[in-house]
Symmetry: C2
Subunit: 333 residues, 2 copies
């Protein structure tokens, strides 16, 4: 996996600067196979590296509790940019920028953008450095290009799994999005948050494709889940235990909102929300998830019961209309 | 599930005594379906109950980090007796004693004990109150009865998933064990720890049966895993993150032991050890688990690579013989 910059020299300097003796290294699922190789490099800097093996889907999930529990001096978190502001344990973020060039794949996307002239650009942190060149290619092809920057994330045009504010902020000014990045996950987020046609440039496969059918399928599935939830009587409101996902106050409000409408509601605390975990509670009809909203949207077919976002729960009790929810974007929360 | 005593009155008194406003309630998997019902009872005592939904397989796994993170005043941990001595958050243990009578099932076991005269008794915390009557029935049938008490656990004759010291301490004095409790899990632990014939009395099904074939199968499977591990080059030593499972010093020693034998070894920190979590690291050949030993023994067929206990790793590097391991018991660690 030489396609990413693991910044060994900066990591070494930070370790030396802190005089760290024990470090916890954490990788998102896609980079986990690299963990043993990186651990051996870090061990040569004179520290004991411990690999965090639990699932990690974002910087919301930085392993602070684990680091404190293991008495480590430094967390090295790979693959995400900084999200949680307050650090109880010194943490460095290695964004794992892609080293490959995206231009050829962007060129492949041009025919798919033919019918639109105003294009919004969006990408993950791995490719923020490629946005300038991508814009040049689009401008050269006669397009007007807009890149959003709400300053909520670290870079203009950046999106993360649960935050598409940069894309949402420019949606009214553009006709379609060009998203640069691997896989469908983040591109789907753009489409679900903006309801705009979204073309994906995947530089790893050197391909370009539309994500609109997949987004349409999820919109339909969400509506079906809301309809099923409306028939439910007992609701569990899930409070996430990951550092950037804990929303106890909001969860309590959702519980109150449901009870006002005559539903029976419970608060559940949970770290990993999986079908197996929820199946242990067969008397519950509906789950409202105040932790990572992507679990509701991307994993719906794996769950046997409806798992809703906070806004979807508001639709269930009639406090928000489905149309308004679609306008705000399915991932707004 | 009226078969268990959930001690509502004691729970209420403890809540009032502490003036608790927010409590975290935690159940092992078998009792989780009861959680919503219990939560509603507790809510009537004037507190906000939060149900811990993550898996819980023992008192080693009391949700202290979660409780601190959620700012709760009290943890109510159901189904296990106290294990972790130091409490950062006030915790009460509701042992969920079984309310059913075990005598009829014990009578059913008598024909299976025919060829032995010295019988050891063992059980889980749910049935410790039934041991006296069971002993009377056995004595009446002409048996000599021994109940172990090493004072490591809370009650004479008690076993927990990973601690069979009470059974081991009397194994040399008896010919067979009679285990009282539901399912195979704890009974298997007795057989694997003592290599003694073990008859199970299951008061829920009102049945009695031998667990020896299942134990034999696991002994063979463990030897196969050790043989496969001997061919391995790269080893991950797993450090558990649950409060009663964290053994970083022992894990570091295992890493050193493996490296001395020319193996490449890594430390991994992990909360839930599942096949999915380990599959993210395809370059590893063998996992040595210093957390819950039951994961190695009971879930072996679910894992694609060998997952060994510390003692099994010692057999791999030639520091301990297989015969000595069997003598100590597969769960000793």
């Amino acid at each position: 996996m030489k396609q990413f910059d693991f910044e060994e020299e900066r990591v070494k300097q930070e370790i030396l600067k802190l005089g760290a003796k024990r470090v916890l290294i954490q990788f998102p699922e896609g980079l986990k196979p690299e963990a043993p190789r990186i651990a051996k490099i870090i061990e040569k800097f004179g520290v004991l590296p411990i690999i965090s093996a639990d699932p990690c889907y974002g910087a919301c999930d930085v392993a602070t509790d684990e680091a404190e529990s293991l008495g480590v001096d430094l967390i090295i978190h790979y693959g995400h940019s900084k999200l949680v502001k307050y650090e109880r344990v010194p943490t460095i973020y290695v964004e794992a920028r892609a080293t490959l060039n995206v231009n050829a794949a962007v060129e492949k996307a041009l025919p798919m953008l033919e019918k639109w002239s105003k294009i919004g650009l969006a990408t993950t942190v791995q490719h923020v450095q490629a946005l300038d060149e991508a814009r040049e290619i689009l401008i050269h092809a006669g397009k007007t290009v807009v890149i959003g920057d709400t300053r909520r994330l670290n870079y203009p045009g950046q999106v993360i799994g649960c935050d598409y504010s940069n894309a949402i902020s420019i949606a009214k000014d553009i006709e379609a999005f060009l998203f640069i990045g691997g896989g469908q996950f983040h591109a789907l987020g753009v489409a679900l948050s903006t309801s705009r046609p979204t073309i994906v440039v995947d530089p790893y496969d050197n391909t370009a494709f539309s994500i609109n059918k997949e987004a349409e399928k999820i919109f339909k599935q969400r509506w079906a889940s809301i309809e099923e939830a409306q028939k439910g009587r007992t609701f569990a409101v899930l409070v996430g235990l990951k550092p950037g996902q804990k929303r106890l106050v909001e969860a309590s409000k959702v519980k109150d909102m449901l009870e006002e409408k005559g539903k029976t509601a419970y608060l559940f605390a949970v770290k990993e929300i999986t079908p197996e975990v929820l199946m242990e509670f067969p008397t519950l009809d509906v789950f409202v998830n105040t932790a990572c909203p992507r679990i509701c949207l991307d994993d719906a077919v794996r769950f046997r019961k409806p798992v809703l976002t906070i806004n979807e729960a508001s639709v269930v009790v009639g406090k928000l209309s489905w149309e308004e929810l679609c306008k705000r974007g399915l991932l707004e929360s």
